[in-house]
Symmetry: C2
Subunit: 244 residues, 2 copies
């Protein structure tokens, strides 16, 4: 027999005010009353199965998405088939900002595992952020953070060597897991070597070799997608000790 628990109970359970990601997400810096207003705006949630698209390049832009559970990659594909992973996104991060400029999405967002997002209709977000100063400011910070992040990737792609890129990637992942309350030194990557390679501007074989080298040097223990960082300072040294 089906449960008769009203839907509202579920909705309350998943509201921003109850969400343990709120410190990372759009509600950051809002007072409780404001968070409730935001709750009303977040119309629905959407589950996305592994390998499925949240949106595709060319789709009309209507909403941005906050990741409640799981993780995603975004990529751009050229006519000739070449593609570039432009980012990996984790819980509490916002997807879809690329679509604002032209009213349609300019990249693909694909779930790396079974995931769930909060759908935030963009018109209503703009409306509410005209009334709620702290929401407006937090939204601007999130967009700006994306720009700063992209500049970091440009630096990585434009002037780092393969092992530096992978070290930067691992340290970045570690830091983001830490913020989410997971271990800084032991985690599971949801993306393949090929996807890491695309993101870092390297071929998958090069990524694999760099992992092996790090393992030989005792910097990390690698078992497929399971990563244990053994020597964080050592990884940081690879990044900074560039003998130009």
């Amino acid at each position: 027999m089906k449960s008769v628990v009203p839907v509202t109970v579920v909705e309350i359970k998943t509201a921003c005010s109850q969400c343990n990601l709120r410190e990372l997400c759009l509600p950051f810096g809002l007072d409780p009353g404001e968070v409730n207003q935001l709750d009303e705006l977040v119309g629905s949630r959407r589950k996305i199965k592994r390998q499925q698209h949240l949106y595709r390049s060319g789709d009309p832009f209507e909403a941005i998405y906050a990741i409640r559970a799981g993780s995603f990659k975004t990529d751009v594909i050229l006519e000739d088939g070449r593609d570039q992973v432009t980012g990996f996104q984790m819980t509490g991060e916002v997807l879809g900002l690329d679509g604002i400029s032209s009213e349609e999405h300019s990249c693909n967002a694909i779930a790396l595992e079974d995931s769930e997002v909060c759908v935030i209709p963009f018109g209503r977000l703009e409306e509410l952020s005209r009334q709620v100063e702290s929401l407006q400011h937090q939204f601007h910070k999130i967009m700006s953070r994306e720009i700063v992040r992209d500049h970091g990737v440009m630096m990585l792609l434009g002037s780092m060597r393969a092992e530096e890129r992978l070290a930067a990637f691992l340290l970045n992942m570690s830091q983001r897991f830490t913020v989410r309350g997971f271990s800084p030194s032991e985690f599971h990557l949801r993306m393949t070597r090929d996807e890491i390679g695309s993101y870092l501007g390297l071929k998958l074989e090069t990524v694999s070799r760099a992992f092996s080298r790090f393992q030989e040097e005792g910097l990390v223990a690698v078992q497929q997608k399971h990563i244990r960082i053994l020597d964080t300072p050592g990884l940081k040294r690879i990044l900074n000790h560039h003998t130009a």
Copy 2:
């Protein structure tokens, strides 16, 4: 003898409502009354001489800047001295968005020629964009456009070969000159080969060689920084005809 024309005359002359860049810039989509409100907000203008910084990484973030005249580059510098040019900006484009996220600038903005910017205090911009919906939306579009642009650069750096990168760069410059009412096929680059190389993730010699090759093939006529594009479809073909 000095002129006694009141300062206000100059200020009116340089107001958003009178500016021929308004279709490219923050006032786009605003009605005349709204543009006047924006005028009041743009407190001052600042002249920046060639090679001087508009802001530096680490400077406190207080304002964003719209380029009235001239052009800029932005770059990021690592502790070990390596640097990466993250963009070139032309008239009507906005600088400083990187600073919103952390309240301080995260890159350097340097004038490529004697230039002038409109200073837009950010707190007041947020305030006004809470009242003026079209300004809010245009500002969001400008931030989003920056994100989309950065994704394009990531694609370029991550998966294109040297000549493809340079072709993409030239076509992009051409398109931006065109929008500003200049010739699509003949223009003057304000940046050095070294700066182009940094932006494209190449060494200056490689940039120079790619220019020479394009010239041999009759695609462009290059005379130092003066560029004449002779075969736009040919350049586009280099971009797309990637035989993977």
